[in-house]
Point group: C2
Chain length 473, copies 2
Amino acid sequence: MLKHILLVPVIFITFSINAQTTSYTKDSLQLRKIYNLTLTEGEAYNWLDYLSNNIGGRLSGSRNAQKAIDYTKAELEKIGLDSVWLQPVMVPKWTRGSREYSYIETAPGVTRDLNITALGGSVSTPAGGAKAEVIEVKGLEELKEIGQEKIKGKIVFYNRPMDPTKISTFEAYGGCVDQRYSGAEEAAKYGAIGVIVRSLSLKQDDYPHTGSMSYGNLSKDQRIPAAAISTNDANYISGMLKLTPDAKLYFKLNSEVHKDVESYNVIGEIKGSEYPDEIMVVGGHLDSWDLGDGAHDDGAGVVQSMEVLRLFKEMDYQPKRTIRVVLFMNEENGLRGGNKYAEVAKQKSEKHIFALESDAGGFTPRGFSFDADDAQFAQILGWQKLFKPYLIHYFEQGGSGADIGPLKQGDIVLAGLRPDSQRYFDHHHAATDTFDHVNKRELELGAATMTSLMYLIDQHGIKHINTEQKDKF
Amino acid sequence: MLKHILLVPVIFITFSINAQTTSYTKDSLQLRKIYNLTLTEGEAYNWLDYLSNNIGGRLSGSRNAQKAIDYTKAELEKIGLDSVWLQPVMVPKWTRGSREYSYIETAPGVTRDLNITALGGSVSTPAGGAKAEVIEVKGLEELKEIGQEKIKGKIVFYNRPMDPTKISTFEAYGGCVDQRYSGAEEAAKYGAIGVIVRSLSLKQDDYPHTGSMSYGNLSKDQRIPAAAISTNDANYISGMLKLTPDAKLYFKLNSEVHKDVESYNVIGEIKGSEYPDEIMVVGGHLDSWDLGDGAHDDGAGVVQSMEVLRLFKEMDYQPKRTIRVVLFMNEENGLRGGNKYAEVAKQKSEKHIFALESDAGGFTPRGFSFDADDAQFAQILGWQKLFKPYLIHYFEQGGSGADIGPLKQGDIVLAGLRPDSQRYFDHHHAATDTFDHVNKRELELGAATMTSLMYLIDQHGIKHINTEQKDKF
C-alpha cells in the first residue's frame, strides 16, 4: 500500500516538470526566432533613418510632428495590423524662432560668444536681448541664502553638474533636472531678469542641451527667459566669474509660446485570439526636441515599438491578448499624449494588463525596470534566464516610463526598457541627437528584447495580485 | 552539559559570519572608492587622447610604436611605481607604402573604384598592379570543390559575411577570420594571383578593415597579394559578378616585408608587501594597426591597465602581492611581446598567479571571461555580487586574451575584460578606430572594473587547485 501512496506524487511531479520543460523550450526557441529575425530582417533601423533624416526634429505642434504622424501611420498600415488609428489630443506649441545669441563681457567691448539654447517653453528676451551681471549658484535652495537684494536685476546661473559617480546616468540627471525645470520660476521670485542653466550632460563639449521648463503659477509678466549653456561654456563662465565677478552676460532668445493645437497619438493593434479584452501596450514618443533629429529621444523607442508588432506579423504569431503599439505625442513638453491615452482607456473601460515603454535611447539593451508588486515581479523573474543568451540581465523593480505612467491602476504591470545609459546624455536634447549616433545592432537588440517580453506576457499573462490577495484573505 | 556543547558551534558560526560581513563591507567600500576615483579624477582618457591624437597608429617596428613606448614608460615613471622597465623583443616589420588602389572593370574602360586596404603581412602586387577575373567564394573549403582549373590565374574573393545573429560579435568574427588569415595561403595553392577579402565588420560602409594574415609554409615565390574590401564594395562586386561574371578586378598594393627589428614591452610594477613573489599582471597591447589611431584596439586596454596601478598609488593602497602592468608589443601581427614576456617569466622562475587583459575595446564593461578551473571559478563567483552596483554581470568561464595566453601553466588564472561588443567591429582595424569613438565614461568604467578585480584577487588570493587536489587524493 505504501508503494501506491508514494507513486501518485512522483507521477505528478514528473508530469509537472515535463510541462514546464516543454513550455521553457518553446519559449526559448521563440525568443531565438525573434532575435534572429530582428538582426537579419529588421525594419527598425530603416524606419529610424526616415524619421531622422527625411523628417527630422519633431517638436509638438510642428509641421515635422505632423509628418511623423502621417509617416508612422502609413507604415503601420503596411504591416497588416487589425486596425490603425489616430487619437486626437491638444498639445502645447512653442517655437524657438531664429537662433539664440549670447556672450559674456568682462570689460567694455571685451566679449566672448557663448553656446546657448532656449529652454523649451521659455519666453523670449526683450527684442534687444537681456544683459546683466551673473550670480552663480549650485541649486534652487541657494537663492534663499543669497537673498533678493543680491539677485534682483541679475541673471542667475545654475551650475550644479551631473554627478559622474552615479553609474546610471539617469540618476545623475534626476539629481540636477530641477535647475532646468524650476530654475526660472524660482529665480523670478527673487527678481532675477533671466536664467542660464548648465547643460544636463556628463560630457564636456560645446553643445547646449534644451529641455522642458515650467513657470509654475507665475503670471505672464513675472516670467523670465531661460536658456541652457554648454558644459564647456559653463566651466568657462564659472572660472571667469572668479576673476571678474562683475562680468556681464548678454543673451537673446526669440522663442514664442502659441495657443494649443490639435495633434495625435498614433495607435495600431493586433486583436487577441483568446483574451481580446486584455490589452498590452508597447510604445515610445513620436515628438522630440528640435535641435537634433530625435533619433535616440525617442525615435528609437518609436521604431522599436513598431517593430514589435511587425515581428509578430512576420512570424505569423497570433497573440492571445490584444497587442497595441502607441506612439505618444508630446512627451517632451506636456505629456498630453500619455494623459489622453489613459483618459480614453478609462472612458472606454478598457482593461490594460501590461504596458512597456522604450524612452531611454537606442543603445544596447541591458534589461527592464518593472513597476509591479512583489508577486508579479517574482513571476517575471522566472523568465529572466530565457534572456541570458542575449546578455539581458537587468530585471529590477522601479519606474517605467512617463507616457505609460498615467495608465497605472489596479493589476497593470508597467515596464521600461533599460539600455546602457552611458552615452545617452551626451546626445539628450542636443543637436547631436542624430541618426549617425545610433548603432543598428544596438537598436535591433532593443527591439528583439522588447518583443520577447511582450511575447512572454502574452503567452503566460500577468498575475492578478489584487484578486488573488482578496481570495486569500 | 548539552548547553555547553551547543554553545561552541553557535559562537563559531557567529564569528565566522561577522568576519565575512566585515570583509564584504570592506571590499564593497573599496570598490566604491575605486569607481568614484576613476569617474572623477581618471587619467585613462587623457592618456588615450595623447596616444591616439599626438602619436596615432602604432604598427610594430614603426616610429610611432617607439614613440608610444617612450610615452607610456615616461607616464608610468610619473606615477611613482617601484620600478618601470623595457623588455626587449624582436618584432616583424611590415610597411603599407603608399595608398592602395583598386577598381572593377565590367567592360573595357568601364570601371568603378573600390575601397581596399592591404592585409598586414601581404606582399605587394607587381609594380603595375594585378588584374584578373574574380571567383567569389564563401570560404576556404569551397576552393577544393571549384578546383585548380577554374581558380588558376584569377583573383579569389572571399565573401562570407559575419553572422549577425551572434549576440557576441567576437563569435561572429571568429566564424569568418579564417578567410582573412589563411585565404591567400589556400588560394595560392590553387594558382590564384591574388585575394580580396570581405571586411570583417557587421556594419555596411565604405571602410576596409585590415588585419593579420599568414602564408603558412608557402615559399616566397608562391606568395600572392591579399587585400580587404569594404562591406559595401563586397556587396557591390557580388551583385555585379552575377550580371557580369567576366568582370575584371584590378588592385595595386605597395606593401613591403622588412627584416625584424628590436622593440619593447613596457613594464611597471608595485612590489607586494606580503607575498612579493606572487605576481599579478594587468595589460593590453601597445601596437595597433596603422589605418586609424588604435584608440579601441588597443589604446583603451593600454590606458586602462596603466590606470589600475595609478589608482592603487592614488588611493595609497599597498598591495599584498606584486602588481605588474605590461604593455605588450606586437599583438597584431606576431604576438612576439606576449611570447617574450612569458619566456622571460619562465627563465626567471617567476610565479604568476593571475593575469588580466583588456583587448576588446573601450566600451561599457559587462564583466569578465575566466580561464580558470571550476573551484577557482567558484571562488571568483563569490565576488560577483560586489560588482552588481556597477552593472557588471558577466562572469563566465572561457578564453582570456592573446597576449597573456602564453603565461598559462599550473595554477594561474587568466581573465579578459568583456565590454559590450556591439560596436567593436565597426571600428576594428579600420580608419574609424579613432579617439572620437571612445566614450570617456565607458573607458573609465572599464578601468574601474579591472582595478576592482585586481584588488579582490590581491586581497584574497587565488585557490591553488592542483595543490589542493594533490592533498585530497
